[in-house]
């Protein structure tokens, strides 16, 4: 038995660009390396926070794990099963175990369906409840779980605020009693006071159902709040992973360090945000060999431009991909 609930090994997703015939004949194809050889694991019952800036491959990772898109190479193990070897019928079973909550509750809920219809759909797909009465009972139970009431069941999504819609999206994920929930920026579209309510809801549900979370966010304070362990991504690579305290109090990778220095604290007595890196985000299109941070990094040496650093175990589940520490 694997100790890990989910283990990802050397997962890679490359998107070909200019892949038409003429470009191929002319040798002008390019490759967008959205996710490039990443490995991580999640233990049962814990929350792994995946953090990084836009375009670094966080959402692609979420989609790969759920096989909404197929990886170019690598492997994904759910407990002891190799997910990528599964045929579509077995993937349907896997989706009872792994569920997704998306960022934008305005586009993830069908505007033409009532909440009852939206929430009973997964029950129908997976044959979990037969007949209207059974479905109704199940749906009302789900609504109560996420802090909504019976009176909400027959309304349409547009009658709800952003926070309430996100509750509905969470209820839909819970409908199949999953074990792993992947949240792809589930609180970034919400106002602070509502965001706090939804973060608390995630926590409560985790305790009640012993859920495992992969929580994707770009907001570091959210990541700090919700995670047990954190993985930091930069342009398709994981540059550092460790327990939440290690990452926030003792970051080793220059990118993690820069990210933390750039966050404005809601406290005027703390130092103001500043950027310790040069230039702007690197592009994932045909990246040069070597470290992705090369060219922006304050401690780079010649080797950084040539060899891509591997994640090295520094003890205590702390892994860092950097040549110079």
């Amino acid at each position: 038995m694997s100790d890990y609930f989910l283990e990802v090994k050397n997962l890679t997703k490359h998107f070909p660009l200019n892949n038409d015939l003429i470009s191929r004949l002319g040798g002008k194809t390019r490759t967008l390396k959205a996710v490039d050889d990443i490995s991580f694991f999640i233990k049962p019952g814990e929350t792994l926070g995946l953090v990084g800036e836009s375009g670094c491959g966080k959402s692609t990772t979420a989609r790969l794990i759920t096989r909404l898109i197929e990886p170019s190479s690598g492997s994904i193990y759910l407990k002891d099963d190799d997910l990528l070897s599964f045929l579509p019928e077995r993937m349907l079973d896997v989706r009872k175990t792994v569920q997704l909550v998306f960022q934008d509750p305005y586009s993830s809920l069908n505007p033409r369906k009532t909440i009852m219809q939206i929430l009973s759909r997964p029950l129908e797909v997976h044959n979990l409840a037969k007949g209207w009465t059974a479905k109704r009972r199940h749906v009302l139970h789900l609504l109560r779980l996420v802090g909504l009431g019976v009176e909400h069941a027959d309304r349409y999504p547009h009658e709800f605020s952003g926070g309430q819609r996100q509750r509905i999206a969470i209820a839909r994920a819970l409908a199949v009693s999953p074990q792993l929930i992947i949240g792809d920026e589930p609180v970034s579209a919400l106002d602070v006071s509502i965001q706090a309510q939804i973060l608390n809801l995630f926590r409560e549900l985790q305790e009640e159902f012993n859920l495992t979370y992969l929580f994707i966010a770009h907001d570091l304070s959210v990541i700090r709040h919700i995670s047990d362990r954190v993985a930091v991504m930069y342009v398709g690579k994981i540059v550092e992973t460790g327990t939440v305290d290690t990452i926030f109090e003792n970051p080793k990778h220059p990118y993690t360090h820069a990210l933390l220095m750039a966050v404005p604290h809601a406290d005027p007595l703390k130092p103001p945000p500043r950027l310790t890196l040069q230039g702007e985000l690197a592009t994932p299109v045909d990246p040069p060999p070597g470290c992705r941070l090369y060219g922006r990094c304050p401690i780079a040496t010649d080797v950084c431009g040539e060899v891509s650093p591997e994640l090295v175990d520094r003890g205590g589940e702390h892994y860092v991909a950097c040549h110079n520490i």
């Binding site: 800036e53 836009s54 605020s161 926070g163 309430q164 106002d191 602070v192 006071s193 509502i194 965001q195 706090a196 309510q197 973060l199 608390n200 926590r203 770009h218 570091l220 304070s221 959210v222 700090r224 709040h225 919700i226 939440v244 305290d245 926030f248 820069a258 990210l259 933390l260 220095m261 750039a262 966050v263 404005p264 604290h265 809601a266 406290d267 005027p268 703390k270 103001p272 945000p273 500043r274 950027l275 890196l277 702007e280 985000l281």
Partner: protein
């Protein structure tokens, strides 16, 4: 010394919509002094942007209506000015930076020609003078190789660079007053840090006053001198940065500060504000915050509390602090 540039007095803005009458700004009074940085904070729909747009007279009328109040800029009421006088004011005296540069800039003209247009119309520069000035401005806001970037279109710039272009455009006619409406909200943290630093250095260098609109309390904690907190069309608290963060008095401000997950410690649960933001088409009677407030009393659902000075420079609109 206090030298007020902008005085908003008892401002009220409402919109006549098909669904009903929506009051977006009500009884808002605030003062921005010369070279001061004023942070206007609140959640979506609280009236921050409408307040700022009223100053520029950019609220569409109809369906909008400024139903009460005055906006004094350099002692003159902006609301009494003709459209021609407003055109004199916009850009040259007051400039604005918007949240979404992609929609604020024209996609079919080059960035350089858009900024030089502003210079030629507003300051009557020749084509050549304008071009030189634009390159100088692009350089000033930290755009690398400005000569070649002059001829680029908006889509050829990254998010952070687009915001720099917006800033160059806003600075082009040497305004004395800048309104920045969520200028860093769409940006990644590392880019946000550089844009904040840039705005700060520009306002300092050109002695500009600044209204900084944001929902992010972390951002105002470092960029602003004075902070105004808005909730459901009302200004509920106003004070210096240190007062607001160290001694917040309005239950909404307190709730907002408690809702933010902290970076330095990890708490198991956050203390959110209960309930939802009220429906602005049917707002509650009395204090707009009373249905969500832990300390609500009978009077709260009957009378709107006025904004009162409770300590030097610290104003709060709450019946708990009469």
């Amino acid at each position: 010394m206090a030298d007020p540039v902008l005085q908003i007095e008892d401002l009220g803005v409402r919109f006549h919509l098909k669904r009903g009458r929506l009051t977006a700004v009500e009884r808002v009074s605030l003062t921005v002094n010369r070279s001061e940085t004023f942070g206007l904070v609140g959640e979506s729909g609280s009236g921050k942007t409408v307040t700022a747009r009223a100053v520029m007279r950019l609220v569409p009328i109809p369906p909008g209506e400024i139903f009460q109040g005055r906006i004094l800029f350099d002692g003159e009421n902006v609301l009494d000015k003709s459209e021609a006088e407003m055109r004199e004011l916009r850009g040259r005296k007051i400039a604005m930076v918007f949240q979404e540069p992609m929609s604020a800039l024209n996609p079919v003209f080059t960035v350089g020609s858009q900024i030089s247009d502003a210079l030629r119309t507003n300051l009557g520069m020749s084509k050549k003078e304008a071009k030189e000035r634009v390159i100088e401005l692009l350089n000033l806001v930290g755009i690398p190789s400005p000569e070649s970037r002059y001829g680029n279109y908006v889509h050829e710039f990254s998010g952070g660079m687009r915001q720099r272009v917006m800033l160059a455009m806003a600075l082009s006619c040497n305004p004395s007053f800048l309104i920045a409406d969520e200028p860093t909200t769409a940006l990644d943290v590392t880019i946000q840090a550089t844009i904040l630093e840039l705005i700060e250095s520009m306002t300092e260098r050109f002695h500009m006053s600044l209204i900084f609109i944001t929902h992010n309390l972390g951002v105002v904690a470092h960029t602003c001198d004075t902070i105004g907190v808005m909730y459901a069309s009302h200004l509920v608290e106003l004070g210096t940065k240190n007062e607001i963060f160290a001694n917040p008095l309005h239950p909404y401000t307190q709730g907002l500060l408690n809702s933010i997950p902290r970076l330095d410690t990890q708490a198991k649960f956050l203390t959110p504000i209960k309930g939802l933001v009220c429906n602005m088409l049917e707002p509650p009677q009395g204090c707009k915050f009373n249905p969500r407030c832990e300390h609500a009393m009978d009077i709260c659902s009957q009378e709107v509390p006025p904004l009162k000075e409770v300590a030097a420079g610290h104003f709060v609109a709450c019946h708990l602090h009469p």
